[in-house]
Every structure is written in C-alpha cells, then in structure tokens.
C-alpha cells in the first residue's frame, strides 16, 4: 500500500510486518521515533505476540536482545551514535554468539563536540564487529532492507545492522510502498533458531575459548560474511520477484558503463550524486556513480568489476578515520589492487553539514581535472582552520576548539545544545 510517511515510521511498520517477538527500546535522537512507533503498535494491539521492553540503557537493550535471541525468538532494537558506542561491547558479543538480531542504526555523528546530526561515524566505528552492515539509500529501501535483513540474519545466524541516515531519512516524509502482511509472511518464514536455551535440550553458550580454537572461530565468522556476499544479491533478486522492486544487493551502479570518473558513496547522498552525474553527463562529462549497500561484507569483487575500467574514483565518505583519512576508501583501494587508476578520498557531510549539488559539481570537476588532493574535506572553511592553528601556535592553552570556532563565527556557543 502506498503511504506518505516518515522514514522512522516506515521502518517501524516494516519491523512490525516481520513479526518480532522481542523489541527493546531506549531513546536517542534520531532513532527514537522507530521504537516509539513499535511501542505504540504493541500497546494498541496492532502488533501481537511481541514483548516491548523499555530498558535502562543501550547496553541493556542489546543485552536483552541477546538473551531473547538466545532464548529462541526474533529480536530487534534500534539506536544511534552515542547509544551504539555505549552498547559496543554487547554488539561484538551478539555476533560472536551467532545471534540473528536485527538492529537499525539511525546514523549520527559522535561527540565531543556533541552533535546530533547525520554522518556515518557511529556505524563505521563498529564496522568490524562481525555484523552485516547494509546502508539504505531511500526510505523505501530502508523499509525493504529490514525485511531482507531478518532473512539474511536468520539464514546465516549472524546479526544484521540496517544503517539509515539520521534525519535525512529517519525524519523525512516520503512516499513508500508498504507491503501486506501476507507478502512479508511469504518472504520471511517464522523464526527457526538453530540453537536455543531450552531445558529439554541443554546447551552451554558463550564458553571460554582459548588460543587453540579462537582463530578458527574468527575464521568462521569471516567465512560467514563471505557467504553473505552470495546471499545478499540472491535475496535481493528474490525480493524483486516477490515485491517487484530493486532493493538492496551489494551495490548499485548508475551510468558507469563508459564512465571515466566514478563516484562511490554510501546511503542517502547517492540521490544528490546521481543528480549531479546527470547534469554533468548533459554537459558531456563521462561520469557515473556507485552506491555501496553492503559495507560488511565488503563487496571487493563486485566493486572491482564496476570500477575497473574507469580512470579515476572519488570516494565520498561521511566519516573520518582520524589519522588516516577515509574508511570506505580503504576497502575501495583494496578492491582495485593491481589496477592503475587515480583515487580520491572526500570527507563530506560530517556532523550534518549539507552536501550540496554545487559543491559536488565543483568537486567532481576538480577530480576530472585531477587537481584534487588525495584527501579532501568538502567545504572545509580553511580560514577558520588556519586561524585556529595559528591561535594554537601563539597561545599555549587554547581551550576547547569547537567553542572557539563558534565564537569566531559569531555563533553563541551556549545556544547550541
């Protein structure tokens, strides 16, 4: 059914259609509306057979999900930013235990300075936790990916994180096609756990494992992710047959066949990138884009096939590996090993800074002229940065940088909450 609805609510509806049996909730902007929506559905009786549990922290939320999943039921939670970091220990644990929990991350920056707006720093910080990470481009895709996520998680016995850009998607009202319960039931069978805490057949889970077996366990976790490289496109194809929509998969290419410049990105920014691609194509530039949906497992081969023929690749990332540069770029570079082609890392949209068509156009033109720095911070205000660097040189005690910058920009720091 077509609906005009908020991204968060679309996800809540998608989760409800997946018939979760335990949903854990702890609020943090911008994820909050998702669990609120589910809480409402459980309370009103719209979502039956589901325990909705208000917990005292994200660490507890993931822990309750771990217990529920080990207890044999389909479990779900959602978080963002500081919340994801607060639950990090349990995030690793869930994958180590092989529990097919599905979690939405409404992507948001990590403080300090505190900043509630969108970038990918949070989910990227747990990129190696053994979870599958899928990045949604639109709200329709966010909705569709959650339905696929449970299938994927349960077939692999591995948790799946669906990442969607905070505010840009979570708080945006868009038209989405919400499938019927029958359609989802046909695609997603009831949860059949592989191993469950059951007095009739006792098992010990989470034993202490020493050096004699730990490498093997980790290898198997890696192997599981490599299997997902086949399963993710297969599920996307099956999803298309069932629902009539292309959604998910490892990555999507746009006008890349004859492209000399290819822009790689994750999440909602691809919409803007595609518009700029169209404009530049109209002016005769051979440019295309690739949007990575599956960041974990990282689609090395598929990406290589999509990029191999280009002359240059611009990786647009909403996160920063401080002291290195790009996080996504690392994977992209690995996928292109042995291929001669210019690579650029662009750090963009940190802490919610708008990524505009104008700046992207300028950026891609510079890339085409090959005048870009290997690592570029999009729309960086160099005046301010230089001023701060100078101030640091002059005054030994500089104080918090963020506040100093805001003061210089004429923004009263105390008004930023």
């Amino acid at each position: 059914m077509l609906k005009q609805t908020e991204g968060s609510h679309a996800v809540a509806e998608a989760i409800a259609l997946c018939r979760p049996q335990v949903v854990c909730a702890y609020p943090i902007t911008p994820q909050t509306h998702i669990v609120e929506g589910l809480g409402e559905m459980v309370k009103s009786g719209e979502l039956t057979g589901c325990e909705f549990i208000n917990v005292e922290s994200e660490f507890a939320a993931m822990s309750v999900a771990i217990g529920a999943s080990a207890g044999g039921v389909r479990s779900y939670t959602a978080t963002s930013s500081q919340g994801l970091l607060f639950m990090a220990e349990a995030v690793y644990n869930a994958s180590g235990l092989g529990l097919p929990i599905v979690m939405t991350v409404g992507n948001r920056a990590i403080g300090a300075p505190i900043n509630i707006w969108n970038d990918h720093s949070d989910s990227m910080s747990v990129r190696d936790a053994g979870w599958i990470q899928l990045y949604a481009e639109t709200n329709q895709e966010a909705l569709d990916l959650h339905i696929q996520a449970f299938r994927l998680a349960e077939e692999l016995a591995c948790p799946v994180m669906v990442c969607m850009d905070g505010f840009i998607l979570t708080h945006a009202y868009e038209r989405v096609d919400v499938p019927s319960q029958e359609e989802v039931d046909a695609f997603l069978p009831p949860y059949a756990p592989r191993q469950i805490l059951d007095p009739a057949e006792p098992v010990s889970m989470g034993a202490l494992v020493g050096p004699e077996a730990f490498t093997e366990v980790r290898y198997l976790a890696h192997h599981k992710q490599l299997r997902a490289l086949d399963l993710i496109p297969a599920l996307a194809a099956e999803f298309k047959r069932a629902f009539g929509r292309d959604s998910g998969g490892l990555l999507r290419t746009y006008r890349t066949e004859d492209a000399e410049t290819i822009v790689v990105s994750l999440g909602s920014v691809n919409g803007t990138v595609q518009e700029v691609v169209d404009e530049m194509r109209a002016r005769g530039t051979r440019i295309g884009s690739v949007s990575i949906c599956s960041f974990r497992p990282f689609p090395l081969e598929t990406l290589r096939a999509a990029l191999g023929h280009a002359k240059r690749v611009v990786v647009l990332e909403k996160c920063l590996a401080v002291g290195l540069g790009g996080i996504v770029s690392d994977g992209v570079r690995k996928s292109l090993s042995g291929i001669q082609l210019k690579g650029y890392t662009v750090i963009a949209g940190l802490g919610g800074r708008a990524i505009t068509r104008a700046s992207l156009t300028r950026l891609f033109e510079d890339a085409e002229r090959e005048t870009l720095e290997p690592v570029t911070f999009l729309d960086l205000n160099t005046d301010i940065v230089n001023h701060e660097l100078e101030r640091e040189r002059q005054e030994r005690r500089t104080g918090p940088t963020a506040e100093a910058i805001l003061r210089r920009m004429g923004t009263v720091a105390s008004r930023i909450g």
């Binding site: 005292e56 660490f59 080990a70 479990s75 805490l197 006792p202 494992v209 020493g210 077996a213």
Partner: protein, 330 residues
C-alpha cells in the same frame, strides 16, 4: 514449602546437608539421588571454592523447585571461567554467558523470550560475582528489578574480583587487603566507609523477594532458592561464598569462615518481601569478629606485632550494628 521448616536443630544442625531421619519431602536437594547435578564435578574451581559450592546448591535447588525447567545466565567471573573452558562445560542446564556487566539484562531477554513463546513453566536465573553485580552490572540489575522481570538474580559474594586476581569490589569489606587495596600506608587494606549493600538496595526497589544466604547453612540456602522459585517477578539472592585463594584462607576453612561471618553478625541472614524484612536467622551466641578475621591472610595486617585494635574494634562495631539493626539476638 512456603512455611519455615519445622526441623529440630539436632536433626539437621548447620553442619549436615541431607538427613535420612527426615521424611522424603523434607530432605535436602543434595541428599537425594535424583538431584540434577546442575554444575557437575570436574570443573576448575580452586579447592574449597565457596562459589562453586553455592552455585551447585542453588541451581540444583532451583531445578527441583521448577521440575528441571531452568535457564541460567552467567556474568563473566570465576564461576563462568572455571565451569566452561571450551570444549568442556560443567553445566547440565541450558546456560549462556554474554558479558561481565549484562547478566541481568540478558536474563531479562531470556525471560521475555519465554513470555513470547508462551512458556510460563521455564524459569530464568541470572548469576554473577559481587563485582559483576554490585559494580559493573549494577545498572542492568536495577533495570531488571524496576521492570520486575521474572528472573532470580543470584550474587555469589566472595568480596572481591577474584577472576582477575583479587581486586577490590564495592562489596570488599573495610580493612581487607586486595591487589588494589594493599596493606600499606596509614590505613592498610580497603578503607572504611565505602561499599554497597546490594540486598538493601534491592529491597528499596520493593521487589517481591530479597534474601541473603550463606554456604555455612546450605539447608537454609536451598529453602530460600526454593521459596524464590515459587514467586514470580524480580527476585534477588545474595550468597556469601568464601574464596580460599582471594582471602588467603585454608581450603578446609571455607564453611567455617562462612559460619563465623554469620555468627559474628558480620553477615546477617534474612529474607524480605516487597521491601520489608520478614525473617532472620538469629544468633545464639555471637562470636567475636577476631575469630573470623584471624583465619584470613587478607586481614593479617590487623594482627601484627602490634594488633590494630582500633580498626578491629571498628569491625566489631559493624557486626554489633548488624545484630542491632536486624534483631539477630532474640
């Protein structure tokens, strides 16, 4: 079973566990051939480990009380490490270990799963050491109490972080030496005036059942677990479990130490319902705390050439205060 047992003292004593003079239904869980052996032998606990003993009795009693329908959730700590070195396990019950600080929350999740599956016969127990309970897992524990989740949480209190090499926890008693409260300086050992009393904090949550127990009185421990399993909602049991390694005590003194802690008043045994104390184990003849302290190397610095009479007296006052507060002498 909800009634206090009417057994004559000479028949059971505090020393014996099973008793063949009793009728079947009055016998201890451990005296029966049908006991479940939930935590079976061959694990790697130290000799005389109070925690291993406490866990074995507690879980077996819970098994009997529930018709063997128990799922156990364990925090990181000695009990977890000594019982499950992969690929071995000592647990005969479904058992999961996730992290140091989340046993209560994982148990909440397991309990939620049972509700979702409509299995109200399967009961959930969470267990951890004093560190996992009073310190790092405290938030999750309080959350579980506050939601009144149907979980019995058992804390095995050996008064320090034993698994990482005997460091102080917020249950470490004053003056005790640990690796992080060395017997040095003007106030050797752990300082006075710190620490948490989690049974009292649990009572403040007004949960249906809170009790303290000790491996000195295993009949009482079994009875409390049994009682706890007859109640729904959040329940808390704090069990005193001496640790020969961490306390510097003889392996064969574990039970004796546990008994002296109770009989000196340092560790009061009581039960509480919905925040109110409903029963206590009275002391017939209080023993001086020195009888208890002297058997442990962690208090050795109090008994050097010049005994630290001031702080020994302070510890004695703590015991006397407990005796007064809980009315331990009839």
């Amino acid at each position: 079973m909800d009634q206090p047992q009417t057994i004559k003292y000479y028949q059971t004593g505090t020393f014996t566990v099973g008793n063949r003079l009793l009728s079947e239904d009055q016998r201890s869980v451990q005296s029966g051939m049908e006991r479940t052996n939930s935590l079976n032998s061959g694990h790697r606990a130290c000799q005389g480990c109070g925690e291993a003993l406490g866990a074995r009795y507690a879980i077996d009693a819970a098994m009997r009380a529930t018709g063997n329908k128990v799922i156990c959730v364990n925090a990181t700590g000695c009990l977890e490490v000594f019982s499950t070195p992969y690929p071995e396990t000592s647990w005969q019950v479904p058992w999961i270990h996730s992290l140091f600080g989340n046993a209560a929350a994982v148990a909440s999740g397991v309990a939620a799963a049972q509700r979702a599956l409509g299995r109200d016969d399967v009961r959930v127990i969470a267990q951890g050491g004093d560190g996992g309970t009073t310190d790092i897992g405290f938030g999750c524990l309080s959350g579980m109490f506050e939601r009144n989740d149907d979980v019995l949480y058992i804390c095995y209190d050996n008064e320090a972080y034993m698994n990482t090499g005997v460091q102080r926890s917020s249950a470490t008693p004053p003056a005790a030496r640990t690796a992080t409260t060395p017997a040095l300086g003007p106030e050797p050992g752990n300082v006075f005036g710190t620490g948490k009393n989690v049974p009292l904090i649990a009572m403040a949550h007004r949960i249906p059942y809170v009790a303290t127990a000790s491996v000195a009185n295993l009949r009482d421990l079994e009875a409390k677990v049994t009682r706890a399993m007859q109640i729904r909602g959040a329940r808390y049991l704090h069990i005193f479990v001496p640790c020969p390694l961490g306390w510097g005590s003889a392996s064969e003194d574990t039970i004796r130490l546990a008994r002296l802690a109770v009989e000196s008043g340092l560790y009061p045994l009581f039960e509480a319902r919905h925040g109110k104390v409903t029963s206590r184990t009275t002391i017939r003849r209080p023993v001086p705390v020195t009888d208890y302290l002297k058997l442990q190397k962690r208090f050795a610095h109090l008994f050097g050439k010049a005994p630290d009479t001031v702080r020994i007296a302070q510890i004695q006052r703590m015991a006397d205060q407990n005796i007064a507060d809980f009315g331990l002498i009839e």
